[in-house]
Subunit: 220 residues, 2 copies
């Protein structure tokens, strides 16, 4: 596996999108693509795409474009999707259930090995092929099963205490759907947040900002 250093954050954030697009091209049987064609499909400029892909040594040959399959595989490697990190999900409510059922963890570098809740009505029920486990058994489970990451789908008031237990167990990688900022408590963790409320408020801002701009121009 290649090791790439100093990849900037904006490039990293674009990688999944490249990966998705290239996967779609592969499915359609496309074998080669130019940066111009990628640019038309992805909405990035061709020069941005060349610059991004050059971070990884550049797979393109002048005039021949990129091999879709090599590029797809290499970006998958860079993302580390072959790692099969073991993840547990905390919170089997509506959101947790949807995340468990909806996501293709295996294709994204993870497998979901456990689901936990403290609600007696949920403990013992089955989601996907997993039985919801009592949160009290978290320590036992993580000791018996190598656990790389935890997914938080619990109310923000519940996160800190559960994160402290996981952190003590050495589980320090989190996919966090709760509106709680875990980095305030720990500085040796990896967190990727999905803050749905924040995203919805930003949509609200953009709509109201565009409407205001329209009204201002109508006034003139």
């Amino acid at each position: 596996m290649h090791k790439y250093e100093n990849i900037s954050d904006p490039v990293i954030k674009r990688l999944p999108r490249y990966y998705r697009f290239l996967g779609e091209l592969l499915e359609k049987g496309v074998t080669r693509i130019s940066s111009k064609q990628l640019s038309d499909k992805m909405g990035f400029t061709a020069s941005q795409i060349r610059q991004d892909l050059n971070c990884f040594g550049g797979f393109g040959q002048q005039g021949y474009g990129y091999s879709v399959e090599s590029l797809y595989n290499e970006i998958g490697n860079i993302l580390g999707l072959d790692h099969n990190y073991k993840a547990i999900l905390i919170g089997a409510g509506n959101l947790g259930k949807a995340v468990a059922i909806h996501m293709s963890f295996e294709k994204r570098g993870f497998s979901l090995i456990g689901i936990f809740d403290n609600d007696p009505a949920k403990i013992g029920t089955t989601i996907r092929d997993l039985t919801v486990t009592d949160l009290d058994d978290l320590e036992k489970f993580c000791t018996e099963n190598k656990t790389d990451a935890a997914i938080f789908c619990v109310p923000k008031t519940a996160v800190a205490a559960i994160a402290a237990r996981l952190h003590a167990l050495g589980v320090k990688n989190y996919w966090n759907f709760s509106h709680y900022d875990l980095t305030i408590d720990f500085d040796d963790i990896i967190v990727e947040n999905v803050h749905l409320n924040d995203s919805l408020m930003i949509l609200c801002y953009r709509i109201s900002d565009a409407n205001d701009a329209q009204h201002l121009s109508e006034d003139q």
Copy 2:
């Protein structure tokens, strides 16, 4: 309502977080806070916070800190949360259902007024207090009910056709959970994406990158 111009994108993206934190402080009965205290709680530097809040005219008085309530209300105004935009949700599967039930739309500037699906097994069922409507009735519904925004919780292969129908109806603001990039088809829309697969792959990258770095340092 104040109108602020030229607020940079990074500042906009931080606004919901300020709003959340200030809301929590209000609930706890805190009336004033200094940028230093906000900084400790939020993980931004105090100078960044002062700089951000200065974009809106600066609410702080030297030595007195900020009035939590004024700042909270003002950021709510800037976000446009009092607008009550009418939103419909397309796709009543696991994810759509979770989004419908889980979100407090009213607190985030929206109200959810309709849920649509094309699956006969889902049409007619109730989610929240809404009956799932046949997607065939989309035009009728949007003509009869002022609709400001649509939420996509459908597979990516279904998005383009539905977006084209909504766009023709004048519904051009989208909260998009599908892995389909709507900006490729339209240049006069507002989209806020929640790409869960991309987020999970970025978590995978960060874990594998940190592990690689650890191995490299162990090698030395």
